[in-house]
């Protein structure tokens, strides 16, 4: 894998830091007039999602990370691993609980997700921005109440719990924004 010098650092570059693959979020050149030049860098750890700040002496190098985002379709979970397939190569990938993370609560099957691969292994799974799922458990709907803005918890077929408006009935299919975990609308 290539190495990158601080003067090649730019947003989005994938590098290895402390044995984990990271993406550069921000890179600032800091130099006292008569002193050592530094690059103050914000990096997102691609395994944990955490953003960390590190400063490098200008001219230092980091090893590049073999990281790739691909589109995959969710197949099934065997309880331990979540299985996905690249629909162009038919290659299958198994993601563990750490990699699948919160994405699991939105997946019932056939959703197209983004898998981040590091050295060919999924390290994180992003669900589609919107999913449609059926409500399996919620209090009875309050007819005609579309205006008060109140809400109630609803359990979905995947086990996820979201807040829905009071007029929504048990068994309805709704659309959810997975980035916020919020109810968007009834699914047509």
């Amino acid at each position: 894998m290539a190495t990158f010098s601080t003067n090649e650092f730019k947003t989005g570059l994938k590098v290895m830091l402390e044995n984990d693959p990271c993406a550069i979020v921000e890179n600032e050149y800091v130099k006292p007039g008569k002193g050592q030049a530094f690059n103050r860098v914000k990096l997102r750890n691609l395994k944990t999602g955490r953003v960390i700040e590190r400063t490098f002496k200008s001219g230092d190098t980091l090893e590049g990370a073999d990281v790739l985002d691909i589109e995959v379709q969710y197949l099934y979970s065997d309880g331990e691993l979540w299985h996905f397939m690249d629909q162009t190569s038919y290659e299958q990938y198994a993601a563990d609980e750490k990699a699948t993370g919160d994405a699991a609560q939105w997946l019932k099957g056939e959703e197209i997700c983004t898998a981040t691969l590091w050295n060919g292994v999924p390290i994180s799974i992003s669900p589609p921005n919107f999913v449609t799922l059926q409500i399996t458990d919620t209090d009875p709907g309050v007819r005609g109440d579309t205006a008060t803005g109140g809400n109630k918890p609803a359990t979905l077929e995947t086990g996820a719990v979201v807040k829905v408006p009071l007029f929504i009935e048990n068994g309805e299919i709704i659309k959810i924004d997975t980035r916020t975990g919020e109810y968007v609308s009834r699914a047509a």
Binding site: L17, Y29, G33, G35, T55
Partner: protein
């Protein structure tokens, strides 16, 4: 007196943290060529004029620093530099303060380097061990392994002290640690402090001044120390300006000098976020 000095020079600055741009001079018969350096500051030529008896001098000039590019850096920029025989760094802070007042910038005060450093870190920069500096630097996110006192001070000052200065308005920081003397005189105290100051405007470094070192022998030793550090760091060697050393030997009058970054001053006056906002054609569009 306003002066004009060459942009191209046969020698360059030895400071390991400042890289000169080089060019080649081809003589008319094409038989040979010499490397010339674009000035990183007009300091050496202006000191030669002072040694020749110019009296107080100033100029606004273009200077060049290789590899410096960022929010506060363009590799080509403009300095206002002036020298006052008979002044020390306190007198020169007074004079720079008057100039700033004329621009509507009122200086809030002067703080010794040791005091701001101590406030921000709890450490005395003049006596702290390299080990303690290294430990603090790692805690504050320095990823490079570093045992150089001067570079660790640079890291901690820029990452821990400068954020504090952002809240202090317009201030002079003076009396720097000895390894950061550059071309400044040292005090006789123990530990010695460098009679150097910097102007910070809401955390932005705008000017750097010295009570100038006049001793030719000590200056030559510092240059040679620089070359040693350059070679240890794997950086290119560069010729020492022996014309400057010869001039210092003939006698530099006791004086103080300061360089003001005009582009940064414009940033401050215009509330600009990036140096590119005050330069018509920054380097990537030049």
């Amino acid at each position: 007196m306003e002066v004009e000095t060459p942009v191209l020079s046969q020698a360059s600055v030895t400071d390991p943290h400042i890289q000169s741009l080089e060019t080649r001079l081809h003589l008319s018969d094409c038989s040979s060529s010499n490397v010339l350096y674009l000035q990183t500051s007009p300091e050496f030529h202006m000191k030669r004029l002072l040694c020749a008896g110019s009296g107080p001098i100033y100029q606004i000039s273009r200077v060049f620093r290789n590899g410096e590019s960022g929010r506060f850096h363009n590799p080509e920029f403009t300095l206002l530099e002036w020298y006052r025989p008979g002044y020390d760094h306190y007198d020169l802070m007074d004079e720079l303060g008057e100039l700033l007042a004329g621009l509507g910038l009122v200086v809030n005060g002067r703080i010794p380097y040791a005091d701001v450093f101590m406030d921000a870190t709890g450490l005395d920069p003049h006596s702290v061990t390299v080990k303690a500096l290294g430990k603090l630097a790692r805690e504050r996110g320095l990823a490079s392994d570093n045992k150089d006192r001067c570079e660790l001070l640079d890291f901690i000052f820029s990452h821990c002290v400068v954020p504090e200065l952002e809240t202090k308005g317009i201030v002079f920081i003076y009396d720097f640690p000895e390894p950061q003397a550059a071309l400044a005189k040292l005090t006789d105290s123990c530990p010695a402090r460098a009679e150097r100051f910097e102007l910070f405007v809401y955390g932005i470094e705008v000017a750097n001044g010295f009570h100038e070192l006049c001793d030719a022998e000590e200056q030559l030793m510092r240059f040679e120390g620089d070359l040693q550090r350059r070679s240890e760091a794997g950086k290119k060697p560069c010729p020492v300006d022996m014309n400057l050393i010869a001039a210092l030997k003939s006698g530099l009058p006791p004086c103080a000098g300061v360089a003001v970054g005009i582009d940064r001053l414009l940033m401050v006056l215009n509330d600009a976020r990036h140096i590119d906002d005050v330069i018509a054609f920054p380097v990537d569009r030049a």
